[in-house]
Symmetry: C2
């Protein structure tokens, strides 16, 4: 029995401070659950002087050099909360190489270099916890790894970027446009000064890479995830969606069908009465379908200091339990890639229903021309709303299609936009009914 587990923390930013705050507030509870004493051997950050709200810096063993933590033989668990690809990747690899267990909240890193990191952890017989990398405090990694272990996962739909969901929720509630709501979110600190990762769907793609690899036990290359953000979503589309009984959400989607896996992130219309449609503001949710359990949803705060720190601690506690009991890591503790990797279905081959808004010059025969193009590409129309004549030169024709192939839709759209009766580019949003 090891009576004490020593932790080295890399990065005393927002989440790192949260990890120490939870320790300060609830150390006895953490130690009781871990079954051992928990101590911080070192807390490394380049900035050792700026105050951290809620923490007394002098109480902690601060050092300026992360390398010292990695080289300290007393440190058994390294918690990486620096973020970004480098030097986080090198630090984690060095920690693993020295036989230290690692906990990280770094979604970009796990999504980009996860295989390399997990292979090294496996070689060293140590654990690499990443519960905090997806959906903050929501224990979705454990659910996929353990809770749903008896299931073949059929599909997974996630609202996994709080910033995008906050912006879309505000647009829906207040009829405002992306740019305006984004500026407000930045002013309030809900969006970064550089919001690219969030609003362009890249952060959602990182999380989808992690979730899909784990759920489907197959390698997923980040570059193969079709990724669109919310920048192109307008207040008008949101209003039409509502009229049709739908909501627009930025979804991270992974679906297994016929031995192939599709992975994509894009604004998606979902029926207003499904559970995911009710997930608003900065909340995250992951909807999972398994062959035995059926539909499940996990909902909670997807980011923020304390929810993310809570997930970090869940991993530290699991590792400390093992260390205290002298149980080495098992192969099953790390994400396993199954025997036969799945083919990733190219975006052009996916099938989906579609919402279209065609801007038509108000002349007779527009609808028949548009419907004709769609029909020639094997796309049938489920419903049409032709908006009344306005003063404007062009009027919107809104339609929902039945399920069609993406390649056919793209070809049809190119043709539609070349029609003489069509003014401007047709707006297309994919529709998911099952979510």
């Amino acid at each position: 029995m090891n009576p004490e587990v020593r932790i080295g923390l890399l990065g005393l930013g927002t989440v790192g401070s949260g990890v120490l705050k939870i320790y300060r507030a609830n150390r006895a509870g953490l130690e009781e659950k871990a079954g051992c004493r928990l101590t911080f051997a070192a807390v490394a950050d380049k900035d050792l002087t700026s105050p951290r709200a809620g923490l007394t810096l002098s109480e902690w063993p601060l050092i300026g050099d992360a390398a010292k933590v990695l080289n300290d033989p007393k440190v058994q668990v390294v918690v990486e909360l620096i973020g970004g690809l480098e030097p986080a990747r090198s630090f984690i690899l060095r920690a693993l190489a020295k036989g230290k267990h690692v906990v990280t909240a770094n979604k970009a890193l796990v999504a980009t270099h996860g295989r390399e990191l997990f292979e090294e952890a496996r070689r060293q017989g140590v654990l690499l916890g990443f519960e905090a990398a997806v959906a903050g405090g929501v224990p979705i990694i454990r659910a996929l790894k353990d809770g749903l272990a008896a299931n073949r996962i059929l599909s997974l739909y996630g609202i996994v970027n709080g910033t995008s969901n906050y912006i879309l929720s505000k647009m829906t509630d207040e009829g405002r446009e992306v740019a305006e709501v984004l500026r407000e979110a930045q002013a309030k600190g809900y969006a970064e000064a550089d919001p690219t990762l969030d609003v362009e769907g890249i952060d959602s793609a990182h999380k989808l890479q992690i979730l899909a690899s784990l759920a489907f036990r197959t390698p997923v290359d980040l570059k193969e995830i079709h990724t669109e953000g919310i920048a192109g979503v307008t207040a008008q589309e949101i209003a039409y969606a509502r009229e049709l009984g739908y909501r627009i959400k930025l979804l991270a989607i992974a679906k297994a069908q016929g031995g192939a896996l599709e992975v994509r992130v894009h604004p998606t219309m979902i029926p207003a009465d499904v559970p995911l449609a009710a997930v608003s503001g900065v909340f995250n949710a992951i909807f999972v379908s398994g062959d035995a359990v059926g539909d499940q949803m996990f909902y909670g705060r997807g980011a923020g200091q304390m929810p993310t720190a809570s997930a970090v601690w869940s991993d530290i506690i699991e590792i400390a339990r093992r260390l205290a009991a002298g149980y080495p890591a098992l192969p099953q503790d790390l994400p396993v890639v199954g025997g036969s990797p799945m083919r990733l279905r190219p975006m052009e081959e996916i099938r989906s229903a579609y919402y279209l808004r065609v801007m038509a010059l108000d002349k007779p025969g527009v609808l028949s021309q548009v419907a004709g193009v769609l029909g020639r590409h094997d796309i049938s129309i489920a419903s049409v709303i032709q908006k009344g004549r306005e003063e404007a030169a062009a009027v919107p024709v809104v339609m929902m299609t039945h399920e069609a192939r993406e390649r056919d839709m793209r070809e049809a759209l190119a043709e539609i936009d070349r029609l003489a009766v069509v003014a401007g580019r047709t707006v297309m949003i994919r529709v998911e009914g099952g979510a």
Copy 2:
């Protein structure tokens, strides 16, 4: 390394058949996740001849005598799916005493005799898995034990009885009465021939006992859970609730406040736009608030053959992993009761907002008399809807109160019902806003 883990199954009813069906369909996946071979040494049931849909009985090592499974030294994991208190309790105690790990889906048993069973498991150094006892395939037990381990749980609200939720959902959607919907549910097989456990809230109380003990790490005696079912909910209350922007759900509630814990099951009005309000039909959901993670919700099918069997397998896999690696159980694997048990708050001391429907004789001064009684008991009214005069002798006066003490409310109701201007018993439903 143990290359094979041998399972003994007690009870080949609905869930037991599901456990075998998952094994038949996905054995390779289960074994890969467990890290060992999994075999059934024996499947015991009194009925060895009735066909089980989807199973070929001759493929399985059926025996008629459960004692043989308990005495078989080769059986390492006993899966108890008999249900009921006896002989299930004795069987489990015998299995534990022989050093076998146990998995059970038996909520009534865990709620009633959990402490005894967990103590015996602790003494023997074996695991006792009960993920399947609450909310079917939803991995809520793991979430409370591991995923949220860094949190002090502040409150927990569960829709944990699918039959009651199905009935209330139907009543809400179709404006029908309990008795009629219940008869239909029985005809469709969604409700038992004897629906007492479900509609009287007893099944929900069982699950609350399990969840609250685990979340708050304190002993909770089933008898101390205030339990009301849905039998008294009328279509009229549901309609008024809707008018006020609420839904009525049968909630299992546990809340920690000022060192005391309140545990209660009763029909509850919740705002129509909170996530729990959207949980309809046979689905279950558990809404948990933790001091670090904030609000979380876990949603899924709360019962049924395959979801419950999926949860049983998640426990078998966890146990098999340990057995294969030679890792004995840890004290933290079983529910731990903290050092200082919490006081259970008597129902009369709880505070809640209330919905009241007073049947008033249509005479001047009714409202002032009722408000006077409430005021004398420290209860203030938040809003009133006085329904228009109808032909009937009595008209409903519907009101929502601010938060008040239950004892005061009970005393006030007794007085109100004695007023000469009041006809019949006043209907009272508690209101929760935070859920």
